[in-house]
Amino acid sequence: MNTADDPTQNHQTATAEQALVLDDVRKVYRMGDGHEVVALDRARLSVGSDEIVALVGPSGSGKTTLCSIAGGILSATSGRVIVGGRDITDYSERQLTAFRQDMVGFVFQSVNLVPFLTARENLLVVDEMGKRTGAAARRRADQLLDELGLGDRARNLPSQLSGGQRQRVAIGRALMNEPELVLFDEPTSALDTQLGEQVMEIIRTEMKSRQTAAIVVTHDERITQYCDRTVHITDGVLEA
């Protein structure tokens, strides 16, 4: 058959090994006064299935917007978004919710943990709100907490943990659902240099041991050394 002539077929095979493909993605925010902000313009980006990409750019350049679109939290105004071979461009709210549950891990810029759940429960809640595998999830949570050096902190509430420990719990939480892609939005911005480097060390180790792809957002060039590749973004425009 002449499949080579079918562009969609081509596209699917080409993206099968990619954790993320952004194809001509544009995001326009419409303000209340009718004014428009172009947060992302003609973004083209591929992230390999075990690749760690640093996304570097100044504040307001569109980094969080890009992560939100890649993670199915926000819909693009135009363009296509393919994650782990699944084209999520036209997903409904409900499909996006299920997609986030199954396919991606998040470490957000600000609030990352549920304050009334312990470290271990913050990992387990991912399973509780999703597949409910029970014992398997508990084993996975304990293993992740051990790997992250939090074995003795499992029963602590977030308020009883240091900033670095909280960030490690968030990393464990992001890995609970065995994601195809993990999105780290400025994971070290609240930490001092030394702690930040430790956290990046952990991120790299965890991603590489699981062969999981990641985007690490930062405006700190030093962080990029822990990543395989760096992509710059300025005013919503990507440049390699």
Partner: protein, 369 residues
């Protein structure tokens, strides 16, 4: 339910206080329900639980037994109506009665055949002049079986030979005697008066007549007759409606307060944990999971509060309050349980709406924390 239970576990004081608040409201509701029923029973229990299926008042008595007088003409009309089987004269008056060491304003009811308490809880019916049936509620005041009470002035004595439950009138001591004894009591107090006329007639329907048929037939007979089925006679007695209405206002207020308390509580905690809920939505928690977690908490809180409130109410419901005997009102307990569950859980739907409106994108920027 993981999330719901963990949250409650970590905020025991906050959820505990809400449970206690609801328990107190439940206690007050149920207590007042008992109070209302006890109060009504003490006013008209003697009508509700006497043996005549239909009571015939004179219209100008305004449904107050003591204010009603059946003239011989009216009595003759009733007897000739064809709508009645048995006809019993019933007289009632309030007398000063010395019992134990005290005197009481006592309702004395005289009956020919119909009009005595339907069932006795102890003792026997009077079978000799000067014997009386008392009310359970008055036993401690010197109206127990074997007690002899004296009507003042005049000094007629009555011996209690039986007692019945829920047969008080006018919220005070009440005695039932045969009609001849009643006439003697009236004469002893006021020797110069003519023979007293009956206050009302207790009648049973003629064969083939229902109680409603009989009242309809008698009321059509003369505008001076006011025939009422037993239950109606109790419900329409002066004051009963006012008591009911007053309590209904109180109950309506509770029916507003309970959902306000639960609704506001859940709205406040939903606002307080908005950041956590937004985070969970961003992580792929379906909104309906978060809503069912909230509703589950609402059910636990209302259910817990209700159970605690009922536990507080139970011992109190076994007490007497002044002359009023309280009861554990099982029907009210069940009815209010359903009503408050609906109101409480319904009110938390406002918070649920707020949960449904959460936009997960706010987790990326930290809005809502």
């Amino acid at each position: 339910m993981f999330l719901a239970l963990r949250e409650m576990h970590r905020a025991k004081v906050r959820f505990g206080l809400l449970i206690v608040a609801i328990a107190l409201l439940v206690f007050l509701i149920l207590f007042q329900q008992s109070l209302q029923n006890g109060l009504l029973t003490s006013f008209v229990g003697g009508i509700r639980n006497q043996s005549a299926p239909v009571l015939v008042y004179s219209t100008d008595g305004q449904r107050f037994i003591q204010g009603s007088i059946i003239t011989p003409d009216l009595e003759a009309e009733v007897r000739a109506s064809g709508a009645v089987d048995e006809v019993s004269r019933i007289g009632q008056g309030t007398f000063t009665v010395a019992a134990g060491a005290e005197t009481f304003d006592t309702s004395i009811v005289g009956y020919e055949s119909l009009g005595a308490p339907e069932r006795l809880s102890a003792g026997r019916a009077p079978n000799a002049p000067g014997e009386a049936i008392g009310a359970d509620a008055d036993i401690d005041q010197g109206f127990a079986i074997g007690d002899v009470v004296t009507v003042i002035p005049g000094g007629a004595t009555l011996t209690i030979v039986g007692v019945a439950t829920d047969v008080q009138l006018n919220a005070g001591p009440t005695l039932f005697v045969d009609y001849a004894t009643y006439l003697e009591v009236v004469a002893s107090v006021n020797p110069d008066a003519q023979t007293a006329l009956p206050s009302v007639l207790g009648v049973s329907p003629a064969p083939g007549f229902s109680a409603a048929d009989t009242t309809a037939a008698l009321n059509a007979l003369s505008p001076d007759l006011d025939a009422l089925i037993r239950a109606e006679a109790a419900d329409l007695a002066p004051g009963v409606d006012q008591i009911r209405q007053s309590f209904q206002i109180i109950f309506a207020l509770y029916a507003i307060v309970v959902p306000c308390v639960t609704g506001l509580f859940f709205l406040i905690i939903t606002f307080q944990k908005a950041a956590a809920l937004t985070l969970l939505r961003a992580l792929g928690a379906p909104a309906r999971r978060l809503v069912s977690s909230l509703l589950f908490q609402a059910v636990l809180i209302v259910g817990g509060g209700y159970a605690l409130g009922t536990a507080l109410y139970y011992p109190v419901s076994q007490q007497r309050l002044g002359g009023i005997a309280l009861r554990f009102e099982t029907a009210s307990v069940l009815g209010w349980a359903i009503a408050l569950m609906v109101l409480g859980v319904g009110s938390s739907l406002i918070a649920a709406r707020r949960v449904l409106r959460i936009d997960p994108v706010d987790a990326t920027t930290g809005v809502g924390q």
